[in-house]
Symmetry: none
Subunit: 190 residues, 4 copies
């Protein structure tokens, strides 16, 4: 048995991401992806059960990458604000470095496919982040409100600001990123 060609799978994923960004989820078909990836449509079904599986797997893959990037330089012994700031900076770094992946992630998360994803599985990768928030509440550094309310003022503003389509007039640089963080921090700190 030959081994599955990893370069082919990567080509498929890249094509998927690129195409979704170019023409959107609805217009994205398996054969168009195959064309762009320079493989046969049938080949895609070797690597993925079906179209849904391809789209979902790609999403999960990206989410994993994001969680890994977010945790770079994570040191739970540093001051609470600094830890959050590191997350924040890492998030923007990811959005800049892997912009296509980032936009795919957003389109996916707001599509009907999102309902089909096992989010508990994904949340595991973000566990350290939730741990930090939990300690922050316990140590009375941040407000004692539900997690979802906290993330609504940390994660989502970040996602919007990092989304070039939604924020056309805002240039992202270390200055604006810092500024934005001060808003996020003010929102949640006690």
């Amino acid at each position: 048995m030959r081994i599955k060609d990893e370069s082919k799978q990567k080509a498929i994923i890249n094509a998927t991401v690129k195409l979704v960004n170019e023409i959107g989820f609805a217009a994205c078909s398996v054969s168009k992806i195959a064309d762009l990836a320079n493989v046969s449509p049938a080949t895609i079904y070797i690597y993925y059960k079906n179209k849904e599986d391809l789209l979902i797997s790609t999403f999960i893959e990206i989410k994993k990458m994001l969680s890994e990037t977010l945790l770079v330089n994570f040191d739970k012994n540093r001051p609470f604000r600094d830890i959050l700031k590191t997350f924040w900076d890492n998030g923007f770094r990811f959005s800049a470095k892997y912009h296509d992946l980032y936009l795919y992630m957003e389109q996916f998360a707001n599509s009907a496919f999102n309902d089909l994803v096992n989010h508990d599985e994904i949340d595991k990768h973000f566990a350290p982040f939730f741990e930090v928030l939990k300690r922050g509440i316990e140590q009375k550094v941040i407000k004692d409100v539900p997690f979802e309310m906290l993330t609504a003022f940390i994660f989502y503003p970040m996602m919007i600001l990092a989304n070039s389509k939604q924020c056309k007039n805002l240039t992202l640089n270390s200055e604006t990123i810092d500024k934005a963080f001060s808003l996020a921090w003010d929102a949640i700190r006690l």
Copy 2:
């Protein structure tokens, strides 16, 4: 000649919104909409130039409704924080009252169709909101940062919190809504 039956157009819009919420944008076809609206597919093309036109027009209609709802009880002479709080409450009221419309709006805004919309036209309806922010900055009540940064901490957290799909574990009531507002306010105030 027969006169245009307004109830038909309403049925088409309702069916569109409902279907997008049920099965998502990508899976939403003209004939499915027609079936749900109890009209012939051809009838849809009397009221709309094509599928794109139907989806965009529906989006704009909803945006208009939202802007109108946001401005209820708007009184520019009240204290700045109160004005914002009124916007905030109106936003959640809209999301509760017209939940389907709200979810449609979100899916649309994150789809590829969003690029086809003339956003300047829509922004006009939200002008009073931007005026308020502008005055807030001038009067040194809120932080002097770009508009898009301010809305990222007011509008978008609201949209996330009001989106039942994204925030499954958060019950919205006047208490949580007030609490969330205090975070938004802390984010932007000086």
Copy 3:
């Protein structure tokens, strides 16, 4: 009872002919014709039983016009060759003057609709022409071959030569028309 608006009917016929020439029979729809004629699709059904009736009636109308034009200056007492030459010139005059009608006629005659036409009815209008041929045979001026063979060397070459689409490189003027007639005449004369 109001009287049928003759100008409307003319507009419909003109639109039909123009559209068939522009986009061809297959692409020609009732609503497109209605648009071009500036009437409602329903109006067409006041004047014609259905689309087929419209197309056929238009064809017959044109054929009638052609037969009338062919008979201009017809004088059975003139020499046989002169009579034919008059037919010949009249034919080219018609094709030049009513070029759109001419091309419509050709497209129609070669389409499947042609089978639906009562050709005996049309042939009546061309009876004088056949009479002339008959006399020509009797007087041993032209070859004694079946009518259809004679027309194949008079009518059809004329139709081809007068069809700008088929004969792109041939300029029609009195000289070339005369020249062509000499070929036709040589073909049939004894």
Copy 4:
């Protein structure tokens, strides 16, 4: 992978030709062709880019066959009249043997599709025929008139006479074919 089934393509072409003859160009739809060919509509799009491509390719294929048939027994050293007579006989042979193809060709040539064909490409196959005419003029055997005028008295009468729909009352046999040729020859000879 499966290999392209040549019999399928042939079935598609046959169905196309047959259907055009039965119901005409305008009424001829892809799904009807697919039904008659016993393939899925989608299969047609494996062999042809679209409907237009199918119709045009079929036309060109037939034209090529015709040109090959016309050139059977072609010997440029025989007397000029004999060469033409051989063309003439070959033409009628083709029209009899491949009557459906012949009628398809005629309908196509008089439809709007004809404008989309690259006629220079087709004319190449008929080059020997034009060569013969050219030599005939040079050797002062036939009249010195434009090519299009000559073909109008050779090709087109032949096409009409061979078209059973246009010439219902004329039986084609070697006698009538010879007779008709004498008219054509008289038309063009000096």
